[in-house]
Subunit: 341 residues, 2 copies
DNA sequence: TTGAAAGCGCTAACAA
DNA sequence: TTGTTAGCGCTTTCAA
């Protein structure tokens, strides 16, 4: 509990009989110091328990060796992969992760950027809720790398939702599905828009009809309403016009749908196939286990950090985002389309 | 991208025609400045887009308005509650959360503390892997608050595992279970030890026999081996000596057990009841949904941060940790004990 | 109530 | 190769 004053560079200098600048150099520019002096300085420093004060270093250099990661909701399991990947990438270069929660809100997210921009070397904004103008304002304050969001002029890392949508639709088509319902995510969700257009394109290519319901909140709870909407649609449609597959905006919603369908006695996948996005923890454990599009979120987090730190690389207006592949994990929530009988 | 030099306190002072110290006071000691001067200074500051540099403030004061939270594994869903709660508590007082991953390793965790202690106002160590000596070394570097770990002399916040174990055993006993297997967590896990002793005490009180297997890694994957061990025990035991309930060290392990039991055709809860600890995301979604002891982890995270910040409150050697209540969430993985026939 | 000056701990010219 | 000097941006004595 008793915390004595930490030794400073001056203490070490005095004790070692050299100038403070020499001590500084011994630590940060080993080449520019005599081998002997350096060894002696380090020995004295070790004996005194000295270590450079990162705050003072940061004040001088302007660099903090710290990166802020902002996610819409820390508690959402979908985002933990990004956090993990970013932390790994940072820790491996002795840097520090500041984690902030954007509260699913543009206002909160912008406040976070305002508050932190002097204390960090840059931001990784995951699934940012900010509009293009706000993103530009943020980027004027500190370097920004986007994840699963694109705006011209800012570097980014995105999952390949287009390729992923193709995998989903092709999987469903090969099982004989001809009509699918897409449960849309929140309006304004960039990834939601990408997923939807990807699905439309793929559906066109495979001769599958898709209809979109929603928007739905991307939560387990919203699944009940979504499932009811799907069942309503089915009973309103003629026998042979019934959708046989559901593609949900994300896994949480899909799992909520599964739960509700079970409650209402609709069997999955016999009557209805269900697909999600994200492959979150839990997707393999629900009943039936969920077929879903997996995204390499740890890798995306690490790539974003790398992009931020290698900031030298000029990111012109034309720089395309890095694309991280996705892959479909087929589990038991999808099966052959039921005969129209 | 172009980032012009940010205005400093000197710029504002010059522009406002006052001394730098007056600007400083206008921001940090509103009382000690003439109303008029203050208004004028703030107006100029706003016009110039000035905001105090937190790094410089920190260098001066030694306080960083930053707290580090160290968890054994960021990707483990069990820990996200603590992170969320801590972030909330910090953001509400304009402070910053640094998140670090202890890699389930004492060495890595101590390295993290070494690396960060100059840059933060203190540490919240969740389920720390450090031994008592290492904890004391850490506390000598910076204020430390423990979560779900206790050592004399350090403040802490712990879940009420003793009361929780009582709830679990009483629930099982009331369902007629007389023999239970406890699947132990990693050796050296403080919470594991608490859970086990709590279960033993409660078992004694309720006339339930408990046997411990393990240690098992607290992961889904380890569930297979654990389930096999339980089944082996059952077939070795005489008809009336068979355990009818399993209490797993945590939910991940319990879910792994459920998956393996299903694979091997053992029905839950008809043949065997299964209970977990933590109520992680996914526990409600697995099949059957898991009965588990829920812990208010967000609250624990917030309390730990509060304890750290209210550091004034002297924490003598005798200070007991704050206890956060737990509650049993009964789902469908537990049911009446099968008749011994 | 305000200003001048010193200093937080460190780094980076500039000389020597 | 090393020491001296002057800051980084801010806060805080100490006087006025």
């Amino acid at each position: 509990m008793e915390r004595p004053r930490r030794p400073t560079i001056t203490d070490v200098a005095a004790e070692a009989g050299v100038a403070a600048s020499t001590v500084s150099r011994a630590f940060t520019h080993p080449g520019r110091v005599n081998q002997h002096t350096r060894a002696h300085v380090l020995e004295v420093a070790a004996r005194l328990g000295y270590a450079p004060n990162p705050l003072a270093q940061a004040l001088e250099s302007g660099r903090t060796s710290t990166v802020a990661l902002v996610v819409p909701d820390i508690a959402n399991p979908f985002f933990v992969g990004f956090v993990k990947g970013a932390e790994r990438a940072l820790a491996s270069s002795q840097r520090t992760l500041v984690l902030a929660d954007g509260r699913e809100s543009a206002v909160a997210e912008e406040a976070v950027v305002q508050r932190l921009h002097r204390s960090v070397d840059g931001f990784v904004l995951v699934a940012s809720r900010l509009d293009d103008d706000a993103l530009r304002r943020a980027a004027a304050l500190a370097p920004v790398v986007l994840v699963n969001r694109v705006t011209t002029g800012l570097p980014g890392v995105v999952a390949d939702y287009v390729g992923g949508a193709e995998q989903i639709v092709s999987h469903l088509a090969s099982l004989g599905h001809r009509r699918a319902v897409v449960l849309g995510g929140p309006t304004g969700s960039w990834s939601g828009a990408r997923r939807w257009t990807g699905l439309q394109v793929a559906a066109g290519r495979h001769g599958v009809e898709v209809e979109r319901l929603g928007p739905f909140s991307p939560t387990f709870e919203a699944g009940a309403a979504a499932a009811d909407a799907v069942l309503g649609l089915r009973s309103a449609a003629g026998r042979d016009a019934r959708p046989t597959a559901v593609v949900a905006h994300n896994d949480l919603l899909a799992m909520g749908v599964l739960a509700r369908l079970a409650e209402r006695g609709a069997s999955v996948p016999d009557e209805l196939s269900v697909v999600g996005f994200d492959d979150v923890f839990g997707a393999a454990l629900c009943s039936p286990p969920l077929t879903t599009l997996a995204e390499r979120s740890e890798r995306a987090g690490a790539l974003a950090v790398d992009a931020l730190l290698s900031g030298g690389a000029p990111v012109g207006p034309g720089q395309p985002p890095q694309v991280v592949p996705t892959h479909l994990v087929v589990r038991r929530s999808t099966g052959p389309a039921p005969a129209p009988a």
